[in-house]
C-alpha cells in the first residue's frame, strides 16, 4: 500500500512538471528549426539567434529594460528601507494604516494600478517615456522592499542601537553602523525582488510606456502580434538558459553555505 502510493506521487509530480516544461521545451527545439514552421522540424540552424542579435528593436528594448530595472530598484530600495525604519517606529494603529496602504498595489489587479498611473501621468502632464516607466516601476516595487525589510527590523535586538549610542555614536552613526548591517539581508532580497519584477513587468508598463520607450516585455508583445516570428523562440531559449544558470548558482551557493554551517556546528 505504502509503496504504491509513493509510486503514484512520483508519477503525479512528473506529470505536472511535464505540463510546466513541455511547452517551453517545444519553443527551445523549434528555435533551431530551419523553416518558419512551428510544427514540422526541417533542419538545424542558428539563423534565428543571429537575426535576434541584429534586431535593433529587441536590443534597445533590452537596454531600456536594464536601465528602468536598475534605477527603479535602487530608488525603491532606498525609499522602502527608510520607510520600513520609520514604520517600525510607529505605534500599532498608525503602522497598520500604513501597511494597508503598502498592500494596495500588491493586492490590486495590476491593470488597475496601470490605468490609474496612466491617468495620473496625463493629469501631471508628464510625457510617457523612460521617466514614467521608472516612476511606475518604483511604485510597484517599494512595497516588496518594505515587506522584506520589516521582518529583519522586528528580529533586530533593540539594545544594540542603545549600546552603540552609549559607546558614543550619534543616532545617524548608529543607524549606518548597526541598523543597516543588521537588516542588510532584507534590503538585498528586496532589491533583487524589485529587479526581477521590474524586468518582467508587462501589464503596468503597457499603460505608462508610450509609443517610444519599449522595454523587453513590450517588444516581445509586439513580436507575438506578428504571429510567426521564430526569433521569439530563440529569445525564450536564451532567457530560459540564463534563468536556469542564475537559479543553479544561487542554489549551489546556498547548499555550500549550509554544509559549511553544519560542519561548524559539528566542530563545536
Amino acid at each position: 500500500m505504502k509503496k504504491r502510493s509513493s509510486l503514484f506521487s512520483k508519477v503525479y509530480i512528473a506529470v505536472v512538471l511535464a505540463f510546466l516544461y513541455l511547452p517551453i521545451m517545444v519553443l527551445v527545439v523549434f528555435s533551431f528549426n530551419q523553416s518558419k514552421s512551428r510544427a514540422v522540424f526541417t533542419g538545424f540552424t542558428l539563423d534565428w539567434y543571429q537575426k535576434l542579435f541584429h534586431n535593433e528593436a529587441i536590443m534597445s528594448a533590452l537596454l531600456n529594460s536594464l536601465i528602468v530595472a536598475v534605477i527603479s530598484s535602487v530608488v525603491a530600495t532606498v525609499l522602502g528601507t527608510l520607510a520600513a525604519v520609520g514604520i517600525h517606529a510607529m505605534n500599532r494603529r498608525m503602522r497598520s494604516m500604513v501597511m494597508n496602504l503598502t498592500n494596495i498595489p500588491v493586492i490590486n489587479p495590476e491593470i488597475v494600478t496601470g490605468v490609474s498611473l496612466m491617468l495620473m501621468f496625463v493629469f501631471l502632464k508628464m510625457g510617457f517615456g523612460l521617466t514614467t516607466l521608472v516612476v511606475a516601476h518604483t511604485t510597484f516595487n517599494v512595497p516588496y522592499v518594505i515587506l522584506s525589510v520589516m521582518p529583519k527590523l522586528r528580529q533586530m535586538d533593540v539594545f544594540q542601537v542603545e549600546a552603540a549610542q552609549d559607546l558614543g555614536c550619534n543616532p545617524t552613526q548608529a543607524f549606518f553602523k548597526v541598523v543597516i548591517p543588521e537588516i542588510m539581508p532584507g534590503i538585498m532580497s528586496g532589491f533583487l525582488i524589485s529587479l526581477t519584477y521590474s524586468f518582467d513587468d508587462f501589464i503596468i508598463s503597457h499603460f505608462v510606456a508610450g509609443p517610444t520607450a519599449q522595454t523587453l516585455p513590450l517588444a516581445i508583445f509586439s513580436m507575438t502580434r506578428k504571429k510567426v516570428s521564430p526569433e521569439i523562440n530563440a529569445l525564450s531559449t536564451i532567457m530560459f538558459v540564463a534563468i536556469l544558470a542564475v537559479l543553479l548558482l544561487i542554489n549551489i551557493a546556498d547548499i555550500r553555505r549550509e554544509s559549511k554551517k553544519k560542519r561548524g556546528v559539528q566542530r563545536r
Binding site: I87, V112, L117, T138, H206
Partner: protein, 270 residues
C-alpha cells in the same frame, strides 16, 4: 532612531502615485469627458454583463483547476526529503521567471490548427481539432501561467504539517479520507486562501492571455479596460468605470470566499 521621519518620503510617494491615481479612477468613472458629474459610465458597464460574467466564470474555473492540480502536488512535495523538495520547488518556480508572454506564446503555437498537437493527432488519424480561440484555451493559459502561485503557498503551509500528526490520526483509526478531511485540509486552509487569491485576481483581470489564446470571441474585463485606454475606442471615463466595477467584483468574490472559509473553520472548531 525611534523616529517616524524616514517614512515621510515614502508616504508622499505613495500618496502621489497610489492614492491620488486611484482617486482619479473614481473621479473619471463618475464624470463625462468635460468634467460633468454623471452615472452614465457606470450604467454603460451594464451592457457588458456578458463579458463580466464570462470573466468571473473563466477565472473561477481556472482557480478551481489550479487548486485541484496543485493540492496533491504540494502535499506529495511536502512529504519528500529536504534536498529533493528543494530541487523540485526550484523546478516549479523556474517557468515563473520566464515572461508570461513567452509562456503564453508557447501555447499559442501548440494549440494552433496547424500546430504541433494537431499534427500529432493527425498521425493517429484524428482530424484537426479547434483548440485555439476557445474558452478552454483561455482557461488553459490561466492555469499554465498561475499554477505555481497555487503550488508555492500550499507547499509552504504543508511543510508545517508533521508526519507524526498524520500518524497520530491513523493510530486513532482514521482512514486516509478522514485524516485528509479532519487533519490535512483544516491545517492547509491558510495556504488555500493565499493560493486562491493569487490565482483568481490575475486571472480575472488578465487581458493578454485571453487575446492570444481566445481570439476576438472570448474577451474579458481586462480586454475591455485596455481597449478604453490604449485601443482604438479611447474613453478613459468608461475605462475607469469598468475598472471600478472590476475592483468591486474582486472584493465581493474575495469576501464571499472569506465567508466560506469562516464557516468552514467554525464547523471544525465550533
Amino acid at each position: 532612531m525611534k523616529s517616524k521621519l524616514p517614512a515621510l518620503p515614502y508616504l508622499i510617494w505613495m500618496a502621489l502615485f497610489i492614492v491620488v491615481p486611484l482617486g482619479l479612477v473614481v473621479y473619471f468613472a463618475f464624470t463625462t469627458a468635460d468634467g460633468q458629474f454623471t452615472i452614465a459610465n457606470i450604467s454603460q458597464v451594464g451592457q457588458y454583463t456578458g463579458v463580466l460574467l464570462r470573466s468571473i466564470w473563466l477565472a473561477a474555473v481556472a482557480t478551481v483547476l489550479c487548486l485541484l492540480i496543485a493540492y496533491p502536488l504540494a502535499f506529495f512535495l511536502s512529504r519528500a526529503n529536504y534536498s529533493i523538495q528543494r530541487t523540485l520547488i526550484m523546478l516549479v518556480m523556474l517557468p515563473m521567471w520566464m515572461n508570461f508572454l513567452l509562456r503564453t506564446y508557447a501555447w499559442m503555437t501548440l494549440l494552433e490548427t496547424s500546430g504541433l498537437i494537431n499534427k500529432l493527432l493527425g498521425l493517429i488519424g484524428l482530424g484537426p481539432v479547434q483548440m485555439i480561440n476557445t474558452p478552454g484555451a483561455v482557461v488553459l493559459g490561466m492555469v499554465y501561467n498561475y499554477l505555481p502561485f497555487m503550488i508555492l503557498p500550499l507547499h509552504s503551509i504543508m511543510t508545517k504539517i508533521e508526519n507524526t500528526t498524520l500518524e497520530a490520526a491513523q493510530d486513532l483509526g482514521a482512514n486516509w479520507w478522514q485524516s485528509f478531511r479532519r487533519v490535512v485540509l483544516p491545517l492547509s486552509i491558510p495556504g488555500i486562501m493565499t493560493g486562491v487569491t493569487m490565482v483568481f485576481v490575475p486571472s480575472i483581470s488578465t487581458f493578454i492571455i485571453s487575446r492570444m489564446l481566445g481570439g476576438g470571441g472570448n474577451i474579458l474585463i481586462g480586454d475591455l479596460i485596455e481597449l478604453q485606454f490604449i485601443g482604438s475606442s479611447y474613453n478613459p471615463n468608461l475605462g475607469s468605470a469598468i475598472s471600478l466595477v472590476m475592483m468591486v467584483i474582486v472584493l465581493l468574490c474575495m469576501s464571499l470566499f472569506n465567508q466560506f472559509d469562516k464557516s468552514e473553520r467554525e464547523g471544525i472548531y465550533g
